[in-house]
């Protein structure tokens, strides 16, 4: 197991980046693109949190880490809503 937090953060970012690319390249059955979209945006939110916490050092500032996490989460939900909008009508 990788003990260095920075190395672990880098490894997490690589896995999440490759994971979201593979999800996008996967041929999803009709009607499941919403699931793919949800996964891709969840991965994007997780990647942003890793960068803020470990690269930018917000792990040492829990108030701001939580604030950025919640704000970016709401923003990703907005993007998901806009992405799913055409399927609703």
């Amino acid at each position: 197991m990788i003990r260095d937090p920075l190395l672990r953060a880098w490894g997490t970012l690589i896995v999440l980046s490759l994971g979201s690319t593979l999800i996008s390249l996967w041929h999803w059955p009709p009607g499941f693109s919403a699931v793919a979209g949800m996964l891709i945006l969840t991965f994007a939110w997780l990647k942003a949190r890793v960068i803020l916490s470990y690269y930018l050092g917000l792990n040492a500032a829990p108030f701001w880490r939580r604030g950025f996490g919640i704000s970016l989460g709401i923003f990703c939900l907005l993007l998901l809503g806009l992405y799913l909008l055409p399927g609703l009508f």
Partner: protein, 182 residues
Amino acid sequence: MSETSVLDELPGDLMIWVLIVSELLVFGAGLAAFLSVRASDPVGFGAAQDALYRTGAGINTVVLVSSGALAAWALRLRDGAQRGAARLALVVAALLGVVFLAIKGFEYAGKAADGIGWDTHPFFTFYYLLTGFHAAHVVAGVIVLLLVAWKDAPRNIEAGAAFWHMVDLVWVILFPVLYLLR
């Protein structure tokens, strides 16, 4: 008696955080506008998106987050008084930034060869605007990284690395929205 503010908890200079939030708001507005316009023509946007090279953009993501890790590493090395290693990490981080730009350049050249321009479809207007603006930040970031490798005071490295992480942060949200959401 000293009063501490919650702002004091933020690592590094307050102004770099003001810059980070400003950039997130600008790119965030661009991405929200992109998905709003897409809602009126999802089929056309999907067809245009299929012209993008997703694997190349995925590789570029790996390049950029690796470069970010090196920039973060550089600050740790400098704090540990390992100046030479810190400078080397910053220069390699900058070189990875150049690799990112080279891959982006190939991507743009491929689009141009296929006759795809910014006015081919509204998708490409957003694509060139958002990725081009981000690439301009990468160019600035490469210069900043080289500058702080030269003037390597810990405070300089912290600010330079934070700018580079902001470029990283924007990309990890921009990349999935433009390239991956089908």
